[in-house]
Symmetry: C2
Subunit: 336 residues, 2 copies
């Protein structure tokens, strides 16, 4: 059997099974405790007398698969490579801290491009108080960037496994903007460097919701993940991890006016299935949801509810209660 037959998520399940052989009764020489295992946005460990929970995450971008220099300048690529990791840590309610950068690149890569890449990484590290402390650089026929990021959380980490029937489902901001920006870039609209559209900026400089993540923890939210593969698809993952189902009310899904203007006929598809939004998706009972929405900045919205239907199934209803047919699919890393 090949990886493509199994798909990304089948493979991830297998790897989780294999690596659990070092298992729940594992005792590390360092005597830390694995508070949140593999399978969430980030793994979380606590040291017995340590002051914080540490969060560990890693994310990779491969040339021609996750980016092309045609749609993403190097400096923005540097920003994005770290943004996706900060977003994972934000989804647990943490702040980023230490960053390791691995670069694979062909020997004929321009040094000035690498410098631009690092400038973008330094931009976002400065913005979020993170620090690049090490890494590795290797020769590779094709370019790739792997970021490993350690974060810290002072409260209990939010997880994907805590959604319960009756919870409301919400996002911390509008979705679909990044996908709209990518569509504009691929269509050749607004690809000039000057006067980039709002949507292209969303695609090139996504701003992880780290502050929102901490507000959620403070409000008592325990169930969250980040939206990286599309709202509908990521909600299905959260439901699958929690053993529940969900309904999305499509008319409640928040989107930027710029998205609705640029894509009047299919903005909802982009909002539901677009990906790379890096807002947070969370669920909570009504009273905690009220407190969370009061604390969050404008743009956050309730978009649905958790139900006790078939595990991992997300139903999308329009304003009249009619099911919206699925128009797209989330990102599978091994799909053709």
């Amino acid at each position: 059997m090949r990886v493509s037959d199994l798909g990304e998520f089948g493979l991830i399940e297998l790897v989780q099974q294999w690596t659990q052989t070092t298992g729940p009764d594992f005792v590390s020489p360092a005597a830390y405790r694995l508070a949140v295992p593999n399978g969430d946005d980030a793994a979380a460990i606590t040291f017995p007398s340590g002051p914080v929970t540490e969060l560990y995450t890693t994310d990779t971008m491969v040339d021609g698969v996750h980016f092309t220099s045609a749609t993403t300048p190097w400096r923005d690529l540097g920003w994005k490579a770290i943004a996706s990791n900060i977003s994972d840590v934000a989804a647990m309610g943490g702040d980023p801290a230490a960053v390791l950068i691995t670069l694979g690149m062909p020997p004929d890569t321009l040094v000035s491009d690498i410098r631009d890449l690092y400038l973008g990484m330094i931009d976002i590290c400065g913005e979020f108080g993170a620090q690049i402390i090490g890494g590795d650089m290797v020769r590779s026929p094709l370019a790739f960037i792997t970021v490993a990021l350690t974060g810290v959380a002072t409260g209990p980490p939010m997880v994907r496994t805590a959604a319960e029937p009756g919870h409301l489902v919400a996002v911390t901001g509008p979705v679909g903007g990044s996908a709209g920006g990518l569509r504009q870039l691929l269509d050749g609209c607004g690809a000039s460097n000057s006067g980039e559209s709002t949507l292209i900026l969303q695609h090139r400089r996504p701003y992880p919701h780290a502050a929102a993540g901490k507000m959620l923890v403070a409000a008592g939210v325990s169930s969250a993940m980040d939206v990286s593969d599309g709202l509908a698809d990521d909600l299905a993952k959260l439901c699958s991890a929690s053993g529940v189902a969900a309904t999305i009310f499509s008319h409640q899904v928040p989107a930027l006016p710029a998205l609705k203007t640029a894509f009047p006929n299919n903005w909802l598809d982009l909002a539901l299935y677009g990906g790379e939004d890096y807002v947070l998706l969370f669920t909570a009972p009504g009273d905690i949801m009220d407190a969370a929405l009061l604390a969050l900045p404008e743009g956050a919205a309730v978009v649905g509810e958790i139900t006790d239907g078939d595990r991992g199934v997300v139903t999308i209803l329009d304003e009249s209660g009619t099911p919206v047919p699925p128009a797209g699919a989330g990102w599978d890393h091994f799909a053709d």
Copy 2:
């Protein structure tokens, strides 16, 4: 200017300069202190009230550059990918703890190969008390494995910047075995799975010197690194980081009898320039060196001394005091 014009170490220096803009007066929201910055075997951070120093390292292997399935079976590849990272942590005097695995692979990769890869990783994690807690899997036209490893040290981390003129230079075990094994594999000797030679096992299952690293710290050693790119080349890096020079006495360099037997004419070249040895290289004044050698298992040996010559220059002398001409060069990731 292209990366190949600059070379690996020129590029690393530039990146260190760029990333220092988040600089020495950087205050993290997590309030940790960067005890050992980018440029050593691992970065080290301490939390104000934390019980240990945390070590962070990452290492990547790219198909066709750092390995080929012809010379390294998948299970051994899994072992090696983590071994190089454990060795980095060992060089600081620490134990490995949490591991993140990133795999890039073509969609037609066999799931059974990925399973073998993980079995090798689980083998070495079990041996060294480490635990795989997360990672990322992505589609890529060519396979690569990136390991990010967090370790812990209870004593002060050993660094590359602490060698001083008058120190003796030693290694914690024989060198050249892995390079000899690779040579045998490439020459087609002993490539069968049964009855693998001692040297091929050294190449396929290098055993990081984590226990030795802790013995060194206990003996008072403060200057060390691991030997991954060849003894002569790595000693030059240590000297460069410390602003000193060194002399190697070639007749004192320890090598396995199997290496001398298999390569009677060029075992010394393999020992000096081979790479992937994963023993530790360390320097210390005479009294501390005596204590360290008493504590270390058989195979450790003094191989030279630190001098106040030109920064980073390593001179190799034979038994009669005659300079040995350089016969090879260390590994540059961007050389052709």
